[in-house]
């Protein structure tokens, strides 16, 4: 296995959906190709209805494609290697488990050894600022704390890839800051590939190594940018401003 090979390759994807009473088929994707580099954070941006979420869901095999290939690298092929999370990720919590048990349960199910489980839970609690709440039940948490727990949970067992499908949209700014910092450090530590589906430029600039802009029907890649800034990123640095220029330029042309 070549570890520099892409984590996932979408090749010649065609996908259409039926709309309206006439059930007219609309080709959303036609011969679309894109590959995702392993161990990096890729943001997929586009206005709503541009097919971002469709792409994410075809990646996890949730939607059947008309033609084309979704090829995951060998070490991503087990279902538990790809964790998919959308806006309703709060609903994945186990209300009957305490905070630490919520993090521990996936590890137990993946047959982790006890000492490793304890260490991982401790590290996650710290990264997401939940250490003091370890023994609480989810119903005792605030909305933001619950969201932090839910994100911690969906990457707890070190999946090789995490797909965040507009998952960060409804977060308040404090929660978002904590989650973004934790995501960034865990992605690096655990060598996790992250695919971030979003329409928020700020999230892309805070997290991503690369940004792919989608638009038009059938979907085309309108822009593909490397964002090579050090972390944590400072919104006021000249490098940051320089990096966001071309993105804003594309956005300004009304594609988002």
């Amino acid at each position: 296995m070549n570890s520099s090979a892409p984590a996932a390759k979408v090749q010649h994807l065609s996908f259409s959906y039926r709309e309206g009473r006439a059930e007219q088929a609309i080709a959303l994707y036609r011969d679309f190709s894109l590959s995702f580099k392993a161990d990096s954070i890729v943001a997929i941006m586009g206005r709503s209805g541009s097919g971002k979420s469709t792409l994410a869901r075809t990646l996890i095999g949730d939607l059947p494609v008309d033609s084309g290939v979704i090829a995951w690298r060998e070490d991503f092929q087990e279902t538990y290697h790809v964790s998919y999370v959308d806006q309703s990720f709060g609903d994945t919590l186990h209300w009957w488990h305490r905070v630490w048990q919520n993090l521990d349960w996936p590890l137990r199910k993946r047959r982790w050894a006890r000492p490793e489980r304890a260490a991982r839970v401790k590290a996650l609690l710290r990264a997401f600022g939940l250490t003091e709440l370890a023994d609480s039940f989810p119903r005792q948490l605030s909305g933001g704390e619950r969201q932090r727990l839910a994100v911690a949970r969906c990457l707890s067992w070190k999946p090789h890839c995490l797909i965040l499908d507009e998952a960060l949209n409804a977060l308040d700014s404090d929660t978002k800051r904590t989650i973004i910092a934790a995501l960034r450090s865990l992605a690096t530590e655990d060598k996790m590939t992250v695919i971030l589906i979003t329409h928020a430029l700020a999230d892309t600039l805070a997290l991503a190594d690369r940004c792919v802009l989608l638009g038009k029907t059938p979907v085309e890649i309108l822009g593909d940018f490397e964002i090579s800034l050090p972390h944590p990123r400072d919104e006021n640095s000249p490098e940051y401003r320089e990096a966001q220029e071309p993105l804003i330029e594309v956005l300004r042309h009304g594609y988002l």
Binding site: E78, W105, K109
Partner: protein
Amino acid sequence: MRSCATATCDIQMKFSPRLFALILPLLIVIAWSLITARGWVDPLILPAPTAVLSALGKLLTTGGLTQDLLRTTLRVLAALGIALAVGVPCGLWLGYNRRFYEAIEGPLHALRSLPAVALFPLFLIVIGVGEWSIVALACYNSVLVILISTVAGASQAHPRRLQMARTLGLSTRELITDVLFWEALPSILTGIRVAVGYGLALVIAVEMFIGVSQAGLGRKIFDYQSAYRIPETYAAILLTGALGVLLNLLVGLLEKRLLHWLPSASRSDNQ
């Protein structure tokens, strides 16, 4: 704390709901004493509360009803135990295999709508006159109630939670014990509450029908009534009612203990 301006609100603040709940029974006892003291009703139909209470005291102290109380309670609990052992696993499995459940849902509801007592003669033929006939009949209803409420709870499992469990590669058995059981638990407890009520009613009714072993509160109510021992009849009825209240309270305690994690929005506060 909410601020209240109205008079009714003031009263509610001063008296706890528990105290409030005592008012209606107290009124009934007062009315009862008044009716019997004035001799408005024949004591053969309605004896004085004091007569009933002294009969109850005598029966309890001499142990005249202890055996029956124990027997009836055990029958209700045995029926509930069997109903849980059968209804919960089957209900969880059916909740997971919705399509199969939808195929048998109609007949199941038909069976549940059938008054259980109507089946009793059949049970006598199949199982015979005995302890098991009584338990089986009480079971019949409880199994269906618990099965249906378990299915209802399990089918409400959040798709996201199930999706995550599948992503983690859980086996069907693990999915049922680790996720579906907990999703269904609130509903199962509601089922238990209903099943206990049905169970007690059925056990009492069947005890009246047959004189198996001569023990049981239902049997005693029937016997005392036949012998025109009216205060004792009322005493046995009161005891049966108290047993029902006690069982209900126990289910309430169980709910509190097992469902403390439930967000209050989805909790049914009906105690």
